[in-house]
Structure formats: C-alpha cells, structure tokens
C-alpha cells in the first residue's frame, strides 16, 4: 500500500513545529510498514503524552493515545489480550524513561513483543523545554537555567541491562538506516527498543544554541558513528548507531500460551 494510505489526512496539518524531527520518524515508520506490506488492521499504535506521542493521531491504524509514561503498560494489555496484533509504541524520552521508566524496564524484562520507539530529543517539548533524564550534564533547559547537573541515561545500555532482546539506535539524519532498523525491530519477536535521536529545534536547540534544525541534523551526522567503527576508537565521545542487541529468547505471550496449556491439563 502507498504511504499516504497509512495516514489520516483528515487530521492534518500536524501539531509539530517546523524542523521538528518527529515527522521524520513518522515518515520512516510508514515507509517501513508499507515495505513490510502490513495490513492497517493488524497494527495497534499505543502512545503516551508529549509532542512525540501525537504521532498516533496521524496514522490509520488502531490508535491509543494514553497517559504520560504509561503507553507500554496499556500496550501490554492489548498485546497479551490479542497476541496476533502488532504493537508499535512511540514515546518521548521523558515519557519513556522518566515517568515511564518503570514500565520500560519491566516490559523489557518480560520480553513481551512490543516495538518501543524512544524519540529522544533530550527535552520535554510539549511542556516547553524542561530537562529530561536524557538531557545530560551541562545542558540548559527552562528548569536548568544555571546548567543541568543530572546525568543522562544511556537508553541502549538501560534497555540492554533490563533484558530487551532487540536494541538499536539511529537518528533523523540517517533515515535509510532508521527505516532498516525499524523493519528489523517490527519483525523481531520480543521486546524491541529503537532509540531515535530526533531534534527539537524549538526548545533543546534554542536553549543550547545548536542552531537550526538542519544544523542539529548535521550534528547527528558528525557526532555519531556505526557501532565498533574505527572512528569510535579514535574519538570515544562519538555516539554509536546500529543494532546493539538481537537475540532469540522466549517471548512473553508465547510463554503464557504454555501456561494456558498446563492450566487446562490441570498441572
């Protein structure tokens, strides 16, 4: 199906600022879904609250726009109840890892088959530029006027430690790679996490004097490198992109099917 068949044109224009990276994530995701030839009826998109979470309104899937931080918990209910559905859960960095951090690590630990997309703009966009757990030490935000003294999570390390069976990172600059990774993540059976570095020129960019959206994307090009590259060895500050974890371990809903079998046999 063509990409435009996957969107709800009636609900455009979208709410995002010019230059916001979230639209690029939407674009890559729809290209992926279209390439995979998935039917709209088999996809459920669950999101939380934030600029990023508004993505669910624009796609013509079954869409559930929930509470700040709780998307993965709602998605767990949908998935366990109807395991044949494909669950895609886009979240902001605050949504996924501040208020939703507990649900994030537990969904990873269970290895339930959800595709979690962390749209990491290092800021709370929707509420106007407060620091997030991914802003990082030394950044500026409306609630860190003197400079942020909180250290950031590393989404990839956190997801890996929590037990996610697929963990990857890309950026809005690397759209080809992003689409490829999203495809792998959706096809992966188990909990998959894709962190996407996505620019918020309006708040993170402006507060931290990073220039225009194009400048910020240029930074993604210059400050990131493929996993294990020579460049990384020479410059450890570079952020790695690619698939960090991909392992086959039993998925939660299939495991629960075995519980049902045992219970029905009376064992």
């Amino acid at each position: 199906m063509a990409i435009k068949d996957y969107i709800r044109e009636r609900f455009f224009p979208h709410i995002w600022c010019p230059g916001c990276g979230h639209g690029t994530v939407l674009n890559s995701l729809l290209r992926t879904v279209s390439q995979l030839g998935m039917s709209r009826n088999e996809i459920v998109m669950v999101s939380g609250i934030g600029c990023s979470s508004r993505i669910s309104g624009y796609v013509d899937f079954h869409t559930l726009h929930t509470l700040h931080g709780r998307a993965l918990a709602f998605a767990t209910g949908v998935k366990l109840s109807r395991p044949e559905l494909n669950l895609i859960v886009p979240m902001g960095d605050g949504d996924a890892l501040a208020i939703g951090g507990n649900h994030f690590i537990h969904a990873a630990r269970r290895n339930i088959d959800l595709t979690a997309i962390v749209m990491n703009n290092r800021i709370y966009g929707m509420t106007g530029g407060q620091y997030s757990p991914l802003s990082g030490h030394g950044t500026l935000a409306t609630t860190a006027p003197y400079t942020n003294i909180d250290y950031a999570f590393d989404t990839v390390e956190l997801a890996t430690a929590a037990g996610a069976s697929f963990v990857a990172r890309s950026t809005t600059y690397h759209v080809q790679q992003l689409a490829k990774i999203l495809k792998q993540a959706i096809l992966h059976e188990g909990f998959s996490v894709v962190e996407v570095l996505t620019q918020c020129p309006t708040y993170f960019g402006r507060k931290n004097r990073l220039g225009s959206a194009a400048d910020m994307m240029e930074d993604y090009k210059n400050n990131t490198t493929p996993i294990g590259s020579k460049a990384k060895k020479e410059n450890p500050d570079l952020i790695e992109r690619g698939v960090f974890v991909q392992k086959e371990i039993p998925e939660y809903c299939s495991e629960y099917d075995k519980i049902i079998e045992r219970a029905m046999k009376g064992k």
Binding site: N41, V44, G57, H65, L67, T76, H103
Partner: protein
C-alpha cells in the same frame, strides 16, 4: 435433582466466582492486603479457561493494562486496596473519558497512607467518587455477604458494559476475608450484559464516539475492521482531539448524564422492616451485617427499627433514600469512616438534623453492641 453448587469460601473468592460467571477474560494486578487472594485465585483460574492473568509492576500499570485489554473486546478486572487505589486514579479517569468498560475491586483497609493494612475500614467511599481529577460520574457497588458479593460483581460487569464506564466494587476487609456459604448460580440464572458492538460494516464510516439515540455507544474491537483513535483528551465523534467548546461541553455532559440520568436503574439496595420504622439504620458493606443484627434483635423487643442497606453507593440514590426515610423519625448511618455516606444521606432527606452517625474508625469491626450503645445515646438525646 441437581446438586447445588455450594461453596464455603472467603468474600474475595466469591468476587472471583462472580467475575468468572460474568465472563472475565483478563486480569492485571499488583498484590496488596486485603485483596491479594483475588489475584492469586485468578492466576490459577483464568488460564484454565484460556483467559489471561498478569502481575504488573504496579497499580498504575495494572489499571492501564486492563484498559488496553478491554479495547480488544475482553472483559477485564483489577483488584487492589487503598494505596493501590490511589495509584489507579489517573487511569480510572482515562477509562471514564474514553468510555472503556472495566471493573476495579477495592477491598478497603484503613487509611490514609499505608494505614492499617490488615484491618477493616470504609474510608475510600469519597475517594471513589472524587478521586480522579475533573468533573465526572462514577459507579460504585458494595455488598455485605458472599451471595451479594457474587451478584454485585456480576452486576458490576453488566453496568460497565451497558454504560461503557469503569465500575468500582467497594468491598472491605471483613467481607473480603470472612468465610461463609456461597451458592454459585446456574448458568443463565443471572442475566449477563454482553458488549454492544457496532453493526456498521467494513468500509462504512464508523464513529466510535457518536452516541446512538439511547445514549449508548456501540464499540468496535481493536484489531477489527474499524480503525479509530482513542484519547484521554476531549475528542470529537471520531475520537480525535478537539478543543471546540461545543465538543468539550457536549462530551462532559454526555459522560456525566449517562450515569446521573440513570441513578434509579443503577441503584441496588435492600430493605428490612422499613414500613413502620421510626428509626432507620442506613448501612452498606460489612457494617450492614451488624446493623441487620441490631434490627433483628430490637424488633422482637418492640422497637420500630428498620434497615436500608445500600449496594449502590455511587451514583448516590438520593431520591430513593429520601422516599424510604420519609416517614421515619430519625436515621442513623452505620459506617466505618468519619461520615462519608452520612453526608449524602443528610443531603438526601428533608430533615437532615435528624440524621445521626454510628461509626468506628479504629480498625475494629463495628459490632451490633457498638451500634446499640450509640443508639441509646442518640435516644437519650430525646429524638
């Protein structure tokens, strides 16, 4: 003759039996005294019928998970007590706003905070009504014995499906843990309300939030042929966010009216010796057991006393309470809190100055003797 299905069990177990009878498919919860037995029992029973049980990481997640599961067409429930119920409030409001059927059991213990976990209280009555933010309506049912726990649990699912609303089952520690006899009704003996699904066919526009003439909203399961948006923001008939004042006003009125306009249909209550009663005890949950005992004790001794046992606490049946109390000289509300239903009764009757409170707030079950002692004091005042 068929042997009846008689069990000698805890109230929490009667609730589980009722939920399964009503067709429960999905339960998500987090352990907390005195409700934990419900989760334990369902972890065993649900997979036996192909249903799903999941222990979530907290009560916020539990409430969220059942809402998600309900959208796929499952009948869903969670169970908790005070601290967990507090954590559920935001998602409870979400279920109200999005009109997703679900049942929440709160087996009450003493609060605030961690309070007195293994002791009884009825202190969450007002939290149930007002706990989530914003104007809204809510349905809450309760019961005083296991047969009624079973029936109100079934009724909770029926109301939840009929009105597309969360329903809170407000039990308490005494009812939850006490053991007594339950006769499990035969299949078909109690009516079951199934989900009203849309008859709109594939390819035709389905408006998930456009009420029918009778106010009901036919649903379409997630995963089915109709794709739509569900959001906790004010939304239009498509389920898409809107801040149009007409849309906001219309939706809020719809959410409140669909419950408040059906107060009498939702009201469940029992009455004992009300016809000629000069004194009417008004009670609910486990305290109604003691109140009933007092009435049965004093009647043969010549006192014209009766009991109105409420099973629907919210929406509060003001008209029914007013009508039942019209000829009484005075009313005594028996409850284990500082007067949460007392306030509603005072608001309901024509003579609020003649409504008194018989309560205990020390974690100890209110016994018939406690009520009789308080009655003597009230009567001593010359009512």
């Amino acid at each position: 003759m068929k042997t009846e299905n008689i069990k000698f069990i805890q109230g929490n177990e009667a609730c589980v039996e009722g939920a399964l009878y009503a067709g429960l498919d999905f339960f998500a919860g987090y352990p907390i005294t005195p409700s934990t037995e419900i989760a334990e029992l369902l972890s065993r029973r649900l997979p036996q019928k192909g249903g799903k049980f999941i222990q979530m990481e907290d009560e916020i997640a539990s409430m969220s998970a059942i809402i998600g599961a309900s959208l796929t067409g499952s009948k869903v429930m969670t169970a908790t007590s005070g601290p967990g119920f507090s954590l559920m409030q935001e998602a409870l409001g979400y279920a109200i706003m999005t009109e997703i059927p679900c049942v929440i059991v709160n087996v009450q213990r003493g609060g605030p905070s961690t309070g007195i976990p293994t002791h009884v209280s009825q202190g969450d009555v007002n939290q149930t009504r007002w706990g989530t933010h914003g104007d809204h309506a809510i349905v809450a049912l309760t019961a005083s014995n296991h047969q009624d726990v079973f029936e109100t649990t079934v009724e909770a699912f029926n109301i939840s499906e009929t009105y597309r609303t969360p329903v809170v089952l407000l039990y308490d520690e005494v009812v939850g843990h006490m053991r007594e006899r339950l006769r499990v009704p035969e299949t078909g003996e109690l009516p079951l309300a199934e989900r009203l699904r849309t008859s709109v066919s594939e390819g035709v526009d389905y408006h998930p939030y456009l009420p029918r003439e009778d106010g009901r909203l036919p649903m379409s399961d997630f995963g089915g042929v109709h794709r739509y948006n569900v959001t906790g923001l004010f939304h239009d008939m498509w389920g898409f966010p809107s801040d149009n004042p007409k849309v906001v006003h219309g939706l809020l009125r719809h959410l409140v009216d669909k419950i408040q306009n059906n107060v009498n249909q939702i009201a469940r209550f029992k009455e004992f010796y009300l016809e000629d009663a000069e004194c009417i005890l008004i009670s609910y949950g486990s305290s109604a057991r003691s109140a009933r005992h007092v009435v049965e004790y004093l009647r043969p001794r010549g006192e014209r006393i009766g009991l109105l046992e409420l099973q629907t606490l919210w929406p509060f049946p003001h008209d029914i309470v007013n009508e039942k109390c019209a000829n009484a000289k005075y009313m005594v509300v028996v409850e284990m809190n500082m007067g949460q239903i007392l306030r509603e009764v005072k608001r309901a009757v024509k003579n609020p100055e003649r409504v008194f409170l018989a309560n205990r707030i020390d974690g100890v079950f209110i016994a018939p003797r406690d009520i009789r002692d308080i009655l003597r004091i009230i009567q001593g005042k010359g009512v």
